[in-house]
């Protein structure tokens, strides 16, 4: 499965709000996208709760994987973005 590693852009990490935004997007995309911290188990990107279990802080690497490459890039872009910015 293709994957891409990106750094978390949100200043406080992938906590509730960024996680919610990412999960909503993932749901819209209608493709199976997973997130993982390197070496960890992947979690579904369409569950905000599961994203939060990663505990990824700002600047941490996150591996985004999906068979649907467009969806993968969309989610990866969101991870990289500072979703906390107003």
């Amino acid at each position: 499965m293709p994957s891409i590693t990106v750094k978390v852009g949100s200043s406080v990490g992938l906590h509730a709000r960024p996680a919610t935004i990412i999960s909503e997007k993932a749901e819209e995309l209608d493709a199976d996208v997973t997130l993982a911290v390197p070496g960890g188990d992947p979690v579904d990107a369409d569950s905000s709760l599961m994203i939060m279990t990663l505990g990824a802080s700002c600047g941490d690497d996150v591996v985004v994987s999906s068979d649907d490459e467009a969806a993968m890039r969309t989610i990866a872009a969101l991870v990289e973005q500072d979703l906390d910015a107003e």
Binding site: S11, V12, G13, H15, A16, R17, T20, I21, S47, S48, L49, M50, M52, T53, L54, G55, S57, E86
Partner: protein
Amino acid sequence: MAELITTELVDLDAAYGATKDDVITALAARIAEAGRSTDAGRLAADVFAREAKSSTGMPGRFAIPHCRSEYVLEPTLAFARLSPEIDFGAKDGPADLVFMIAAPASGDQVHMKLLTQLARALVRKEFTAALRAAQTEQEIVDLVRDAVQPPAPKEAAAAAPAGSAATTGDAAATTTGAAATTSGAAAEAGFAGESGHASPLSPSNPASGTATASARAGEPMTILAVTACPTGIAHTFMAAEALENAGKKAGVHLVVEPQGSVGADKLDPAVIAKASAIIFATDVGVRDKDRFAGLPEISTSVKNGIHEADQLVARAIAAAGDPQARRVSGTAASGDGAPARAGGWGAKLKNAVLTGVSYMIPFVAAGGLLIALGFLLGGYEVAKSGFGKDGATSLADFVLGTHSLTNLPDGSLSPHALLGSGFTLYLGAALFKLGALAFGFLVPALAGYIAYAIADRPGIAPGFTAGAVAGFTGGGFLGGLVGGILAGFVAAWIARWKVPAFARGLMPVVVIPLLATLISGGLMLVVLGRPLAWVTTSLQDALNGMSGTSAIALGAILGLMMCFDMGGPVNKAAYAFATAGLNVDQPATLKIMAAVMLAGMVPPLALALSTAVRPRLYNAAERENGKAAWLLGASFISEGAIPFAAADPVRVIPSIMAGGAVTGAISMASGVQLSAPHGGVFVLFAVSGILMFFVALLAGVLVAAAAVTVAKSTGARRTAVEDDAPVTV
């Protein structure tokens, strides 16, 4: 760092209202009540702001509203189980479990770790099921504590025990080793047998054979236990006995502190320092749990303490050797209580007196305000005596004794009654009497609750009686202080008597109240009554005779004290001096009350004024704070100035102290009187000398505001080094 969640932050079956805003408001209030937020309203506003960006309802019918806020003092989790459930914007429906996470503004990492750990727990079905099934607040606290480890447990354990407890860590390490030789093998075996049905709350892998430290032979491991049941008579002692026997069987030195209604026979700090683990077999809160900070803990019900004592001891032995074991949290070194644990009588007495004062203040408030209202309606003549057949009855008593609502007194009896009518005179007399009766509890309540703080429940009756004796002999509040302390120590002393088991139940209800009241009340009446009355009279004469410079000096000193630490011990000392002495028949005490309250109103008002006049000297948060400070100051909540003082103590504290001194001095000099202990401008009806009341207040506010503004404007350009200078004022 303190615990993230405590039982007071948990609400099972909460019905707060129809919207999530209601839930957030209620939880913010809960957090503020627990002393973890400086301002519930602003904390709620911060959560609303975050909630507005996107909602926090999560799949699985729970919600985690959260924020980082400068109004939060320490990382905090509040939990509510909602009934009915409320929509938090999740797709799969409304939420019935709500965790509100409040983190201090500076705690990015803490916030993040909390969310992560909470999320990891919440994805487990059994965790949410357990939350939904929990019967008690404590269960929730235990569940969450197990799921969400404090971010730095090692640090907490190492930092927590200071002073006497500083040795706990070392001692625990060595005695743990000892246990490995004396009873370790048996204990491990015993535990392994039990681990099949060990509590789900116990550490995940307790039997992993961690007792490998090099052994120091010969000394059995010390294990502590606290037992307590709601009535504190039977089960407390049954569990204590069962645990002691179980300890003997397991070959450990097991020491129990039964916290019964007799008051606890506190464990020797030296024993606590040697202990390796503690068992809490309690159905009610453990008193002074901080003493045990850092010890591995096993918590269970008092019933389990009786029926499963052997297993509990085995689990405690295992926990002692398990670095992952849950430990008693809390910082032994924090707060006023620390010196008390070190055995300082002074600190213990201070705590007892402050407890007495804090329980007394509601009586002062109710009584003082009712009396003031009585004067307002009935005129000051209601207190005058010279009525009735013997000519010794007060007007209020006379009116209440001979008239009624259908048979109103003649308004001309009291020329200053409102509107001069008999109706207002009658009402005024009733309010005055009510207030005077409430006020009558002032000294007994002070003494009673001082004794309560020293000796627990058995101290109350002897304390109240000793206080009543002080009132009878004219010992005033000094008599109440002495009587309360005396009663407390006598009750505590009798509670320590070793009595046969059959008599234990009689101790708290018959023996201690009877003997302690007899001894302390008798001493107060026969021996101490006259000297105390003499001291009190001299003090009152001195205060009443105070005029000119000495009165001004007293006012200035009280003003300085009120503004030094805004709600801290120095402020409380000045405030207690004023409220405990408050006596409507002694004008001097009313003047002191006025000076103290006025000075206490200065700090928030001065800073509010300064932020309004020179906003650029303050950051956005301080300016917001400044707006709130107007109301806080006007209501005599000195704490409104704390955010400013904390941010810049060197410039703020001396400035407001100067203002407080000015206000206190003017107030005393001009003889403003106040018969209510609290309320700021909202108790103006209890003030006599309203013009000078405002003159004194305004003068102090102007001085303090000018001083702080000047200090801020000249200091702002200096280097940051000065900001770090310790406060030496």
